[in-house]
Symmetry: C2
Subunit: 240 residues, 2 copies
DNA sequence: CACTTTTTGTTTGTCAGACAATTGACAGCC
DNA sequence: GGCTGTCAATTGTCTGACAAACAAAAAGTG
């Protein structure tokens, strides 16, 4: 058991650290120098740099060098990278608590079966909980997951409240990406009650489909956020 | 004048065409074969493929090959690529009209000067307009641009209503990306009146900073959308 | 026959070294 | 000063090679 971490991944991490540690506008070391320092070939290094260039973090100019762009472009806490609310909160140093966790095993509704691409007689786990920051409820999260995706034991103790974190921790199913529809909604009674707000209050709503590598939807979720607590942003690249 | 298009850009276009022409789940030709067909080296090809892999369009697996992912993951009308509302509407075949265009030249407010990273005595153009689809007002857009970025003549006829489209059409300033903060808000009287809605109605709000290659903010904008007309989504990649 | 193990060819991952194209700075000239 | 050519530094691209991982066929085993 060599616990083999691919070179490209280690390289991606270290290069990311280097870039974020470099002041905006500064030039990175030259490619031959960097490759030598990081112990990889120039071709491998260039592929890793291409990732950050695609994300708009650096800019390479033939003859001039590679420059770190302004930090305003950094995706940092942007929506491009999928992470659970719990992970996000921890990363920005916000203390959150999960309350009113409600679990329900039942048959999928028509809407849920359609979203999960399963038949109507499929059993699903319906998981709802409220996220508190300080003494305020700030988010209401609902996950619908096919029953065979979750062991009941996984939802007992040590459960952070995030289905996504469970999947990531155990490495199965192999996740790729999530499609997240963004909307502004008024709170329905279902949502207003657990959040302790008035029916009709405004909420930011994410409707998300989590895909594994085979293209299956392994999690269908709704996330309702009180405006102003979390700041979500996305970096939009200008099309060529 | 050879109109020299860099190999990497031509390659990016052709590879993108190939990927979009390949059914999801299908395998692409092997790298040596593709490189030969496209007339580039494998190293160059791999850098181009890394772009599409970063964007979640393909997946490369050592020993197995490179596969085109499901179309559900495609950014399609996602937020990853910046385009004007007018361009977006045209692309999806929606007929929209610009009404109540209001232009104002004045000094920047403190908030605007801060957002645009200019001094308080800078003159800015304040541009507001309402987007109609059918007979309904569906969006209210505000741009604040430093005065020296826009010629008055550019805002006369043939003006689609989009500052972004002006910048893109004339190729100056050289744009990179936009940072877009996402929020749900209740309509203030300022916004409710032009949209013809009640004060307190719910709106989806984008606050965006448009950056050029030098890192300057060249456009500061607010976009208010009636929920349900436009569907915005974002593809979130699972972090490693 | 059914099942497991081994082999083998294919494919991506990584490497080393080389040359071309572009940039930016500097010296020299008018 | 302003222009021009030179030159070193840097990224862009190419070639060829080997390693690692996968998938399917082949061989072994009960």
């Amino acid at each position: 058991m060599t616990n083999h971490i691919p070179i490209s991944q280690r390289l991606h991490d270290r290069l990311g650290n280097l870039i974020s540690a470099t002041p905006p506008g500064e030039r990175l070391p030259s490619e031959p120098e960097l490759a030598r320092d990081l112990g990889v070939s120039r071709a491998t290094l260039r592929e890793a740099m291409r990732i950050f260039e695609t994300q708009g973090l650096i800019r390479r100019r033939q003859g001039a060098g590679t420059y770190v762009l302004s930090p305003s472009h950094v995706i940092e806490s942007g929506l491009e990278v999928l992470e659970s609310i719990e992970t996000l909160a921890e990363r920005i140093g916000l203390k959150v608590a999960v309350r009113d966790l409600k679990l329900e095993n039942r048959l999928a509704t028509e809407e849920e079966a359609n979203a999960l691409q399963v038949s109507l007689d499929t059993k699903v786990v319906h998981l709802a909980r409220v996220i508190h920051a300080g003494d305020r409820a700030v988010a209401y999260l609902i996950d619908i997951v096919p029953e065979d995706m979750l062991d009941p034991g996984e939802l007992d103790e040590n459960f952070s409240g995030s289905v996504l974190d469970i999947f990531i921790r155990r490495g199965s199913p192999a996740l790729i990406s999530s499609r997240c529809d963004i909307n502004a909604v008024t709170a329905t009674p279902d949502v207003a009650r657990p959040l302790g707000i008035q029916r009709g209050d405004v909420l930011l709503c994410f409707e998300a489909f989590l895909y594994d590598t085979a293209g299956n939807v392994v999690d269908y979720s709704f996330s309702y956020f009180l405006p102003g607590v979390f700041r979500f942003h996305v970096v939009r690249k200008v099309g060529t």
